[in-house]
């Protein structure tokens, strides 16, 4: 669709050269603001297109006694009804473990599970028909909560243990020791564009699918598996998504496979686009966690030993939960050295929708756990929480003494957290403001303030090592225009423009000479999901590889034709310098074409250095770490629990930014999204496993006025990746979300002030007004009661 939504040619426009490190606007900015950017549901609907609606389970766990769809089939406008029996291949749309069904068979395992597909001439007809299904269930015992699953010992895999040192001894001999627990709620992605797929049948039962997905390759492979066809029979294409955030990594496959199956079975194009409520009920979310901690520490607040127990609600199937919960363990140290540590992670299977990837991928929950511990230690000792955090940081870069070893035995080699924290503490005037907050709290009986500064250290790489690969394809046409394609997808994060900048930089050509094309499985195969913040790191390097090959050919050609040494050929903004001559890039390309030089190349990249043994949870899962820190100030109302974030100061390390404007957008947007996760966004399931918050009327993501009035966001100027990543940049997609943990710590501190910091608040996330008021009243009782 992008290819047709071409950027307009404005006569005689001269675009100045803008390569990497320039704050170029998003590639689709003009199309976004004018409404000409095309999303799947905006594509012209092909003649005869059918609308696909999925019939859903109304039970959390039940045997399907019978399913009578005769009334559905007879309903006006219905063309075809498909069930598991109609699947030619495997009834499987799962990413790893083969346990997600396209259509339920025999039993249902969560409310909202897909039972059957209705294809009709209108979506209204399809929905009305689906409502006529007569499904008889026999209820089975259902585990809805973590506690239910723990009681029944339902897990998606064995609990995992990551440990280093003698924790038992460290805790037994600790100077001080505290235990506690808290809960962290889940989060809906709330991408503004819901899931959507449009499938068009092709010859021989092949199918082409426009899909709003972060993982076109997986969607392709799963559709092929459902159809019982080779991967080459399926092409999946995605130009852009209206937001993804992890929610379109594995979750797109269900809808795409349903549309593809209808298309292949009927020979007609088919679109499957659930509405907002269906989408929220049917698709997975961020895992909610329950955390238990047992921590020993000296009188200065330095940790001596810690045992963390992380329990998560994985939902009905495995999905990506093993890796997500692994990442929670990987981030349960955050930026802190844990001398003796044991992290145990329970992955509970519940009869709720299968939870999935969401920006941070478990990391935020692990990090929230250790930051809670820091707050608890500070409270226990009556110390400033920032001071406790400082004392526990990994040693600065270059320091020895073993204080750089993570619980998974990776050495932290690029630690910039101490410098970055100090710079932020200075620039945000932390100490004076902490005093001002205390003064405010003394003077105000009803409103209470809190201030907190928390760091972020986030490991970059897929922890499933083989996923750290990427491919690219570049064509240079005879007129010198460049077609750029790679495996990364654009969901708003600015990947396409960043990678285009990398290509423009390589050839030293204006950006508008580089055509960014939709991500398509028939151009670059076997791609990984655009996830784990890796999009620019992986695809940028793959593009550099392809560009390097093409430049090599052009240099060799120019050197030979002009009779100069290859070292005398250089690409520059004003043209290609060949000896003393300057030849325009288009001219050189034209001549290379005439000389029968191939002007098309693929590129490939595999992240070096990384290795991981999941059995022992040891290795170097991450190529490098991204760092940041945030300081947030909040005010709470102790009569109602209402909370307002007054100010936040953020300093974030993106290495040498490929595009500072795009990166700032990621940092600020991630922070606000994280703030929503920890404050207003609350997922509520009833006792029968029905999600009660399934639309924006009941599920509250931040609005414009929730943004703190003062929000100072800065990229860390000295930032430079210690590893040779693409132009020494760092990943930016996920890490900033966790800057919002500072908001939660600040709220916790405000609540603690009600009891003069004598007791640690029992505040769970999200800190809704109800959670805050409950914690305030509890603190009052414990501190004064």
């Amino acid at each position: 669709m992008a290819d047709s939504g071409a950027s307009p040619k404005v006569a005689a426009k001269v675009t100045p050269f803008q390569g990497v490190h320039a704050s170029v606007a998003h590639d689709s900015a003009l199309r976004h603001v004018t409404g000409t950017a095309i999303y799947v549901d905006d594509l012209p609907e092909p003649a005869g297109m059918l609308h696909v609606h999925l019939g859903m389970s109304t039970r959390a766990h039940a045997r399907i006694v019978s399913m009578d769809l005769s009334a559905v089939r007879a309903s006006p406008g219905v063309v075809r009804v498909l069930t598991a029996a109609d699947i030619p291949g495997e009834n499987d749309v799962s990413p790893v473990i083969h346990d997600d069904r396209l259509f339920a068979q025999g039993e249902v395992i969560c409310v909202g599970q897909s039972l059957f597909a209705v294809a009709a001439t209108s979506i209204a007809a399809a929905r009305a028909a689906a409502a006529k299904a007569v499904v008889e269930y026999e209820d089975l015992p259902a585990a809805i909560t973590i506690a239910d699953a723990a009681a029944a010992d339902l897990k998606i895999e064995a609990s995992q243990r990551m440990a280093r040192g003698d924790v038992e001894a460290a805790l037994a001999g600790a100077t001080n020791r505290i235990q506690g627990r808290f809960a962290i709620g889940g989060q809906d992605h709330f991408y503004l564009e819901g899931q959507a797929s449009l499938a068009t049948p092709r010859e021989e039962g092949d199918v082409h699918v426009w899909c709003s997905t972060q993982h076109p390759t997986e969607v392709q492979h799963l559709i092929a598996r459902v159809l019982g066809r080779p991967d080459h029979a399926v092409t999946v294409e995605v130009r852009r998504m209206g937001g993804g955030f992890g929610g379109k990594e594995t979750q797109a496959s269900l809808f795409a496979a349903a549309a593809a199956l209808v298309a292949v079975k009927t020979g007609r194009p088919a679109k499957c686009r659930p509405d907002r409520d269906e989408d929220m009920v049917m698709t997975g979310k961020r895992h909610d966690f329950e955390v238990g901690y047992d921590v020993g520490f000296d009188d200065e607040g330095r940790l001596q030993g810690i045992r963390l127990e992380l329990a998560s609600r994985c939902g009905a199937t495995t999905d990506l939960s093993p890796a997500i919960n692994d990442r929670a363990m990987f981030h349960a140290d955050n930026a802190y050295y844990l001398p003796a540590v044991e992290i145990v992670s329970h992955r509970y299977r519940t009869h709720t929708v299968s939870n999935t990837a969401f920006r941070g991928f478990g990391g935020p929950q692990g990090m929230a756990a250790i930051e809670r511990v820091m707050d608890a230690v500070a409270q226990g000792l009556g110390l400033d929480p920032l001071e406790v955090r400082r004392r526990n940081l990994y040693g600065a870069h270059g320091e020895g003494g073993g204080h750089n070893l993570t619980p998974y035995y990776q050495v932290v080699e690029d630690n910039v957290a101490p410098e970055l924290i100090e710079e932020l503490a200075r620039s945000c005037d932390y100490e004076a403001r902490q005093r001002a907050v205390d003064a405010f709290n003394t003077a105000n009986p009803i409103l209470k303030k809190g201030l907190a500064l928390t760091p972020v250290k986030f490991g970059v790489s897929f922890t499933t090592t083989h996923l750290n690969q990427a491919g690219a394809l570049i064509h240079i046409y005879a007129d010198g225009s460049i077609m750029l394609n790679h495996g990364g997808t654009e969901m708003g994060q600015g990947l396409y423009i960043k990678v285009a900048q990398v290509a423009a930089e390589a050839f030293q050509v204006p950006l508008d000479r580089v055509k960014i094309t939709s991500t398509t499985t028939d151009k670059v195969p076997n791609t990984s999901a655009t996830a784990a913040s890796s999009g620019a790191d992986l695809n940028g390097m793959a593009v550099l590889d392809a560009a390097g090959k093409l430049k090599g050919r052009l240099v060799a050609f120019a050197a030979e034709k002009w009779g100069v040494d290859p070292s005398q050929v250089a690409f520059a903004p004003d043209g290609v310098r060949i000896g003393g001559e300057v030849v325009s890039f288009p001219d050189l390309c034209k001549q290379a074409y005439l000389a029968r030089i191939s002007l098309s190349a693929t590129g490939f990249y595999a992240t070096p250095k990384i290795t991981y043994d999941r059995k022992t949870h040891r290795g170097r899962p991450f190529y490098y770490f991204a760092y940041g820190a945030a300081c947030s100030e909040v005010v709470i109302d102790t009569l109602t629990g209402e909370t307002k974030v007054l100010r936040a100061d953020i300093l974030h390390d993106v290495g040498r930014s490929l595009n500072p404007a795009i990166d700032l957008g990621q940092v600020e947007g991630g922070f606000i999204q994280g703030m929503g996760w920890l404050t207003t966004e609350e997922l509520v399931y009833d006792a029968k496993g029905v999600l009660k918050t399934h639309a924006p009327s009941t599920y509250k993501i931040p609005t414009a006025s929730d943004r703190p009035k003062v929000l100072n966001v800065k990229l860390w100027e000295p930032g430079r990746n210690a590893e040779p990543t693409v132009h020494r940049s760092k990943a930016v997609g996920e890490p900033p979300l966790m800057l919002a943990i500072s908001v939660f710590s600040a709220i916790t501190r405000a609540v603690a002030s009600v009891g003069d910091h004598k007791v640690m608040p029992n505040l769970d996330a999200p800190a809704t007004p109800e959670a805050v008021l409950t914690a305030v009243e509890d603190v009052r009782r414990r501190a004064h009661g």
Binding site: S4, G5, P8, S23, H26, A29, R31, H32, V33, T34, G35, T36, Y39, D41, P76, G77, R127, H189, F190, L192, E193, M241, G242, G243, D275, R276, P445, I446, L447, G492, G494, V635, D637, L639, T640, G641, E642, K644, L646, I662, L664, E668, G669, F671, I672, Q673, K692, A695, S697, I701, T703, A704, S705, D706, R707, K709, L711, P769, E770, L773
Partner: protein, 492 residues
């Protein structure tokens, strides 16, 4: 069968014939008109991705004869657009060809320059809200955060959008007065359409006068009344239970006025929030602050105070406030009208004191006694555009340190918006002290047995309700004590 809806798009007449009257403007734009810039994000008026501007002729002979409002196209029924003008995101730029962006409008350019779009899906709606603000279609002088309260963005964190908003300068909307006048109809719009899916004939009636409305209502006692469709719209898009007959009260001039009757305000049932907010905020600043947070710009631009009452919801925010103010409700059936205390309208959950064929004509808000303290508080998970867990309204008159009058009403605490009799009784005659106020607050437990739901637990509702009475006391008796986190954020 049939009937043709006529409206303007970019000043050009459009006709829609043979459509189901519950077709939404959004469906019509994205389908037959191929205006896919307007997006569906939620189909319930909560995300703003479908924001468009609707212009209508004003009744007076103003200098500015067309009144523009930003609304959510997803819950505007197409017949509501009859005789009106529509602008979409595509209206703003000069397109150079099908699908080509062309030259952006300054609002759009500001969004580009400030990096205000990431995924771009909410962007057309945000552009329309910002443009709407520039042309006066988003309330008078509202801060940009309020203008955007109904536009959700999941990517940017809003900063760049707010930056772009600062670049936007006031301008005039295109003048469509003449073509609008040309498409006005004299007779009542009446539509009928066979719903092939449900096998029923759906009808739409848009009376042009109070007497026509009264006749239509009596003739169709089962009909659903539609004013702004901010509620009925969801019966179609969410509940998927479109009414068979709908009566549009938005064309009845008698229902669209705010009149001063003696010292009281008489607010017609068709008066939109946006049209009443200035008057009400002038009399009751606390109510103005609550209405600022009720719904969103788009919702307040469509929804009516009458609708908020008539739908009988236990969680509407206007009823508790109006009950505490001693409002009365005027109901009409045929030529007969009756006036009842507003609280008496709400009989039980889902049941109101309204006979078949009867409709709400107006609500009358008296001016309270001199020195009356009036406070209304809205508690919700999110400050903007969120349905209240608890809405509390208090009207007190204190003379010589003693409460001589108290009206306390809550929403969200029972199956209906209701007065707190026991609490009121405890207050009246008591000294205006924290002790007696806390004692009266404790009596709220006798008045209400709230439910737990996804918005809040019963326990929170009960505790917060008591504390809100304490807040009201503190704000009037101890003005030095800060009690509002919003005020702290604004001035702190």
């Amino acid at each position: 069968m049939g009937g043709t809806i006529r409206f303007l798009l970019d000043g050009q007449p459009q006709e829609a014939a043979g459509v189901d009257p519950t077709t939404t403007l959004l469906e019509h734009l994205r389908g037959p008109l191929r205006r896919t810039g307007t997006k569906e994000g939620c189909a319930e008026g909560d995300c703003g991705s479908c924001t468009v501007l609707v212009g209508e002729l004003t009744t007076g002979d103003d200098l500015d004869p067309v009144n523009w409002r930003a609304v959510n196209a997803c819950i505007q029924f197409l017949p509501m657009l009859d005789g009106k003008a529509v602008m979409t995101v595509e209206s703003l730029s000069t397109q150079t060809g099908a699908g080509c962006a062309g030259k952006p409008h300054p609002v759009q350019q500001a969004m580009i320059d400030k990096h205000g779009s990431q995924c771009g899906f909410c962007t057309p709606g945000i552009v329309m809200s910002l443009y709407g603000r520039a042309v006066g279609a988003c309330g008078a002088g509202a801060p940009v955060e309020d203008v955007l309260a109904g536009n959700l963005c999941r990517c940017t964190g809003y900063g760049p959008i707010l930056d772009a908003a600062r670049e936007v300068v006031r301008e005039a909307a295109p003048d469509v007065a003449a073509p609008l006048k040309a498409i006005q109809r004299q007779a009542m719009l009446s539509l009928a359409h066979e719903d092939p899916v449900r096998g029923v004939t759906r009808r739409w009636l848009a009376p042009r006068s109070l007497s026509e409305l009264a006749a239509a209502a009596e003739a169709n006692p089962e009909a659903a009344f539609v004013a702004g469709a901010t509620d009925v719209g969801l019966w179609v898009t969410k509940l998927r239970k479109p009414p068979q007959t709908l009566i549009d009260i938005g064309r009845v001039p008698e229902l669209k006025t705010i009149a001063r009757v003696g010292d009281s305000l008489r607010i017609g049932a068709g008066v939109r929030y946006v049209e009443a907010i200035e008057t009400l905020a002038g009399r009751y600043p606390s109510l103005g602050e609550m209405m600022r947070r009720l719904g969103s710009t788009q919702v307040r631009n469509s929804g009516t105070i009458g609708g908020n009452i008539a739908n009988g919801s236990p969680i509407g925010d206007m009823p508790p406030a109006l009950i505490a103010l001693g409002a009365t409700l005027v109901l009409r059936r045929g030529e007969r009208t009756r006036e009842i205390p507003l609280e008496d309208f709400f009989i039980a959950y889902g049941k109101q004191d309204r006979a078949p064929g009867e409709f709400v004509e107006a609500v009358i808000v008296p001016r309270g006694p001199a020195g009356q303290v009036f406070k209304v508080y809205k508690l919700s998970k999110r400050f903007d555009q969120d349905i209240s867990a608890v809405c509390a309204a208090f009207a007190f008159t204190v003379v010589d340190g003693v409460v001589i009058e108290a009206r306390v009403a809550f929403g969200g605490m029972a199956g209906t918006p209701r007065r707190a009799d026991a609490c009121e009784a405890a207050l009246i005659g008591s000294p205006w002290t924290r002790e007696s106020v806390e004692a009266a607050a404790a009596r709220l437990d006798e008045d209400y047995a709230p439910l737990s739901d996804m918005r809040a637990s019963a326990g929170y509702r009960a505790r917060a309700a008591r504390n809100l009475l304490v807040r009201a006391f503190l704000e009037s008796a101890e003005p030095g004590v800060a009690t509002s986190v919003l005020a702290e954020a604004a001035h702190g």
